[in-house]
Amino acid sequence: MRGIDFEVAPGEVFGLLGPNGAGKTTTVEILEGLRPRTSGDVKVLGRDPAIEVKALKDRIGVCLQSTNLPDKITVRESLALFQSFYSRSTDIDKLIDRLQLGEKRNAYYQTLSGGQKQRVALALALVNDPQLVFLDEPTTGLDPQVRLEIHSLISELRDAKRTILITTHYIEEAERLCDRVAIVDQGKIIALGTPREIQARTLGTSRVEIHTAQPMPLDVPNFEEAEKFTISDDRKVLNVYSPRPARTLPDLVKWIDQNGIDLEDIHLKRPTLEDVFIELTGKRLRD
């Protein structure tokens, strides 16, 4: 890490977004008290994780990437086991139901599907009714369907006003789940704010793409708020870039109408965090 600075407010879902090797896990492990830091100040729940490790671990919940449980432990036993390590506890059976593991309550860990295992991992992170939950790459390696399930679970946690810190390299995960996101690359935070703020703050403008039945005339005017445009060789696809597409769009549609051309299709493409990342680093998040 090369100097990272952020705060997570109570009740907030905070995302650390970045490619593999960006330093997300390192950051989180320092926060969790698993790894010593070489410099800087860290306070988690008012405690320095390097000093009050045990007290801190007692109050946080952690869902690590790729952990396992013994093959023959049942879901309920695993929760009971881990709960015994903490000073605070929740109702395990309610937790199991909340995570839709009710049917698998007494099933061996080895019989669970990938999604169920991840839900157990989430349940383990909540078993001590934590003040702060760390979700390290909670959906990595899961298939899309399961990922959606997990997302909805995290959304529920968010609705329940848990303080959550998520690391991920999935854009949509950060966009969908996080109140605020820090984009991390090569050990540094390169952008910080709500997903919207970040998108807005960048040069990145929205793009309006129109498809027409007939070729468009060459004299494309300066639409309201538009910054630039590109047109395809057959003049049937026009891309107009604008920071305020809501203003640009009526102008553009009016122009098409005036020229008696049939509008076949229209897309509004907002800039993604991915675009932001590419803009800031010149590379893609995922290869």
């Binding site: 671990k57 396992n68 390590f85 383990l124």
Partner: protein, 733 residues
């Protein structure tokens, strides 16, 4: 605390669901137990202790290496420990719960195996169950600590398996778990002393056999505990939660740190050899506890009674039962059967007069004479080979003879049981002192201190007896002998003999007296001795004197063997060297050099010297018969060690000479068994075929009551329940 309990409970449940854990903890030991019990005939005794030890050590090694050693690595490799890493617990509860669960699984099996050993195979109930429990517990702790340290330093399953195999196999095969250390070559026995499981094995075996408690095993228990402490400490310190955290290759040296206590133990044992000896004794003990039924034999019971057809059941080293006629089925008795039709079973023979210090022959060069530490055990083996199960040394260097008695008694060496008198009580210039003349001046003082007691006053004599009693000699030997005109000796004052006898009797020590003529015998009887050795070889002993001996319960040992040897040597006859048993037991080199010596000018001189001491077989025979008629308790001594009387087989010739003198075979054989035991003050445990007596037995082909030479046709010798492997006797390390 809650974390510990839940962790233990969960771990227990998990292991109960794990078939491999159940198999290796329960099925495997039991399979092992029954398979080896069947193969080794555990129901016939002996082997059961070895099998129980094997199962326990195997279990401890397995629990340590495969249980504790692999478990941590497996959990780490499977990313299970990672999950625990983020919880507010340390490695402590994890390792402790594994240990507790390991014990919970291991200890019931221990109890089960012990119970089964008792119920199914008749192993005697434990004398020190608590000691065994504590020792096994310490063993589990130590070996789990060793496993723990392997788990801590191994970076992968593969690495852990390599380290485990490197340690497990030597510990399994060299540590005495699979076969007794005593059967290994000497150098390997020393190597074994560097291996922790050796101490586990010897300790468990000794406690199982009931001879030792945990307190006798403090050093090994301490070393195991130290290993447990160091290993546990290091396992906690080096504990890793994630497979990504790799250990330096050099970290594997920590394994050696855990084994350090045993490097020290091994180094000490290489020097002291205590545990090597212990291993031999334990193995001996095992072979002494086999159950054997010797059936269809003629039984000469030792007290003159004979059962023409009978059987003897030997169990746990003792005579368990005597059957007249047909014996019950060997299987029902859980015994191995030995068919002995046409053979005669009798108590092992007892030779009450030998001198181990001289070999019975002559070497041509002084360097060929072996040191006592080597020669004596070999001589004791020769006696056992010859069917003699108890021997009395009637005068030998004290320290050396006590050492040999210890070696034979403990079972470290296999040989006859030795009884000793230590030094001879005689007068300065008396018989006994002449041997010192052959000793170089410089060593003579030491020799005399070991070999002679020359008291000047009764008080001094008593003090000397007291000192010997403190050394736990088995009797006292005095000498009253004036020699012959050509061979004079200074004779000890009989008042001294009286003082010696009085003092010795305070310690219940039997006193025998070497006598030369009738006056010596009379004085000895008056002095209150318990046995007359030789009597006289040239004086006729009056019947009245024998009557007094009978009345006083004094034994008579005519030692005809030495009379014959002296006579023949004086006559230049050497055929005694060609006797079969002599050829079998005497070192070849000794026989050859003796032959050469006897025909050399030096030998001639020695022989003519012997000739100066007049001996008469006819008079000796007459004395023996007179003693018999008077009802004196007769005993057989050979005076082996004297020229041409090689150690071992002399008693057979002695018996033949008695028969030639006119003594009935039954009387002679009783003298060589029960009566001998009486003089040794051991007739409450040996000398008879009697229920509860030590199984010291001799089985011969034929009927010695009809033909005494049959005693030399030895079919089997048994000492304290061990069927002696006669061919191996002289190859003992």
């Amino acid at each position: 605390m809650r974390a510990y309990i839940t962790q233990i409970r969960t771990n227990l449940r998990l292991t109960m669901r794990d078939r491999t854990v159940l198999f290796f903890n329960y099925m495997f030991p039991l399979l092992f137990f029954f398979i080896f019990g069947f193969l080794m005939h555990a129901e016939q005794g002996g082997a059961i202790v070895q099998i129980v030890n094997m199962v326990l050590v195997l279990g401890i090694l397995g629990s340590g290496f495969f249980g504790a050693g692999m478990r941590t690595v497996m959990d780490r490799e499977a990313n299970i420990l990672r999950r625990f890493k983020v919880a507010p617990i340390s490695a402590g509860p994890i390792l402790v719960s594994q240990l507790v669960v390991g014990l919970v699984h291991f200890l019931p099996v221990t109890v089960l195996v012990l119970v089964l050993a008792h119920v199914v195979y008749g192993m005697p109930p434990l004398e020190h169950p608590l000691s065994l429990f504590v020792f096994v517990l310490i063993g589990v702790l130590a070996f789990r600590a060793m496993g723990g340290i392997i788990g801590a330093v191994a970076n992968s399953m593969q690495e852990s398996q390599i380290i485990i195999q490197l340690l497990y196999f030597p510990m399994l095969f060299l540590g005495g778990a699979t076969f007794p250390i005593a059967v290994m070559p000497n150098w390997l026995q020393i190597v074994a002393q560097f291996i922790p499981s050796t101490y586990l094995s010897t300790g468990i075996t000794a406690i199982l056999q009931g001879h030792e408690t945990i307190w006798d095993n403090l050093a090994p228990a301490g070393a195991l505990l130290l290993t447990a402490a160091v290993g546990t400490f290091l396992a906690l310190k080096l504990f890793r939660w994630e497979k990504e955290e790799k250990m330096r290759t050099t970290a594997k040296l920590w394994v050696l740190a855990v084994l350090t206590p045993f490097l020290l133990m091994g180094a000490w044992q290489a020097y002291s050899k205590d545990n090597v000896v212990k291993g031999k004794m334990l193995a001996r003990e095992m072979s002494r506890t086999r159950t054997l039924l010797i059936r269809d034999a003629r039984l000469f019971l030792g007290d003159g009674n004979v059962i023409e057809q009978g059987a003897v059941l030997v169990k746990d080293g003792k005579i368990a039962e005597i059957y007249t006629g047909a014996a019950p089925d060997a299987k029902t008795l859980k015994a191995e059967a030995l068919d002995a039709a046409g053979k005669t079973l009798m108590p092992g023979l007892i030779d009450v007069h030998v001198h181990l210090g001289s070999p019975g022959g002559f070497y041509t060069s002084a360097e060929d004479y072996e040191m006592p530490a080597k020669a004596f055990p070999r001589e004791m083996a020769a006696y056992l080979y010859s069917g003699v199960t108890a021997v009395k040394s009637a005068g030998d260097g004290l320290d050396e003879i006590l050492k040999v008695r210890e070696m034979e008694g403990s079972g470290e060496k296999l040989g006859s049981e030795l009884f000793v008198v230590g030094p001879l009580f005689t007068a300065p210039g008396g018989h006994g002192t002449e041997y010192a003349k052959n000793i170089p001046e410089i060593a003579r003082g030491g020799f005399n201190a070991q070999f002679l007691r020359l008291p000047k006053t009764p008080e001094e004599a008593k003090q000397m007896v007291d000192e010997l009693a403190k050394r736990h000699v088995d009797g006292i030997k005095t000498i009253l002998e004036a020699g012959s005109p050509g061979y004079p000796f200074v004779r000890m004052d009989p008042a001294l003999v009286k003082a010696i006898a009085e003092e010795a009797h305070k310690f219940k020590l039997p006193v025998v007296c070497h006598t030369g003529n009738v006056r010596d015998v009379e004085d000895a009887v008056n002095a209150g001795v318990d046995g007359i050795e030789h009597g006289s070889m040239n004086d006729v002993i009056p019947e009245a004197l024998f009557a007094r001996m009978k009345q006083a319960g004094i034994t008579f040992d005519p030692t005809l063997d030495v009379v014959e040897a002296f006579t023949m040597l004086a006559q230049g006859k050497f055929e005694m060297l060609d006797r079969s048993l002599v050829q079998q037991v005497a070192p070849k080199k000794l026989l050859e050099s003796t032959k050469k010596f006897l025909q050399s000018p030096d030998g001639e001189k020695m022989r003519s010297g012997l000739g100066k001491y007049p001996v008469s077989m006819a008079i000796c025979d007459q004395n023996l018969l007179a003693a018999m008629r008077a009802g004196v308790t007769l005993v057989t001594g050979t005076d082996s060690g004297n020229p041409t009387l090689f150690h071992g087989p002399g008693i057979h010739r002695e018996l033949q000479l008695w028969i030639e003198a006119g003594v009935p075979a039954s009387v002679a054989l009783q003298a060589a068994t029960y009566n001998g035991a009486q003089l040794l003050r051991a007739s409450d445990r040996m000398g008879l075929i009697k229920k509860g007596y030590e199984a010291n037995l001799l089985l011969v082909d034929g009927n010695p009551l009809k033909d005494i030479s049959v005693t030399e046709r030895i079919s089997m010798v048994m000492l304290k329940g061990e069927r002696v492997d006669r061919s191996e006797l002289f190859d003992q390390q």
